[in-house]
């Protein structure tokens, strides 16, 4: 049977992909994964009896990712203008506020969730989001944070936070529409 260290190491590529998706900085992602692996090896005893190594490691990694986001938002003082970010969404609507291209029902969305290829497209769409937009969105939808916690970690106002989340959802909808549902 493989050693614990070897089984942990096997998860490195997965963890790196996970961290990169959210941090958008290969150095920061590698650091977060390295810290996770070190913490995992030191905490082998606390893994005993848990069924899924990957889930356990991802749980540790999430904390490391939040730490990294916290550090980088403390370092960056340039606050993006939330209104400028909304204006790029204006193209989705005409001047009277109607959809430029009206959304129509996606065929068999639940069937998509059964397909590996769908998640590859979704990941690709996530990777196209601007860094801060992606971080806010993943903290909200994947990690389940409340908006006020996200604002605090990213160092933005509540209004800006809602704008980031809105922007992420609109961009992902467009991306899925084009690259998955309109095949």
């Amino acid at each position: 049977m493989k050693s614990f260290a070897a089984r942990v190491e096997e998860q490195r590529p997965y963890l790196l992909r996970y961290a990169s998706l959210q941090l958008r900085d290969s150095h920061a992602a590698e650091d977060a994964v390295q810290e996770t692996l070190v913490a995992a090896l030191a905490g082998e005893a606390s893994f005993q009896g848990r069924a899924n190594l990957r889930t356990w490691l991802t749980g540790i990694l999430k904390h490391k990712i939040i730490d990294a986001i916290r550090r980088s938002s403390r370092e960056s003082t340039v606050a993006a203008d939330p209104l400028a970010e909304v204006s790029e969404l204006d193209a989705l609507f005409d001047s009277s506020g109607h959809w430029a291209e009206a959304p129509s029902a996606w065929p068999d969305p639940d069937g998509s969730l059964e397909q590996k290829q769908f998640f590859a497209v979704l990941e690709d769409c996530l990777a196209r989001l601007p860094a801060k937009t992606a971080q806010a969105f993943m903290m909200r939808e994947h990690m389940g944070y409340e908006t006020d916690e996200i604002c605090k970690e990213l160092g933005v106002t509540a209004t800006h936070c809602w704008v980031l989340l809105y922007r992420a959802r609109m961009a992902l909808r467009e991306c899925l529409q084009t690259n998955w549902f309109r095949k």
Binding site: W106, P109, L113, L122, E141, L165, Y166, R169, R173
Partner: protein, 56 residues
């Protein structure tokens, strides 16, 4: 009083992140009753949430 689709989409998104006030909830519900495009949009947003939860 009547929302545009642009306002409705933004309000619906906010509703996924905070509890909307009674007035906003009413305006949004009224808009969705008469607007097929925004109704489809809200179903897509709910689907997106489920998809991200299941992201491997």
């Amino acid at each position: 009083m009547m929302l545009t689709c642009k306002e409705a989409s933004r309000l619906f998104s906010q509703g996924l992140d905070r509890k909307l006030g009674l007035w906003d909830r009413l305006r949004l519900r009224l808009h969705l009753v008469i607007c097929d495009a925004c109704s489809a949009f809200t179903r897509q947003m709910k689907f997106l949430r489920r998809a991200i939860e299941r992201l491997p």
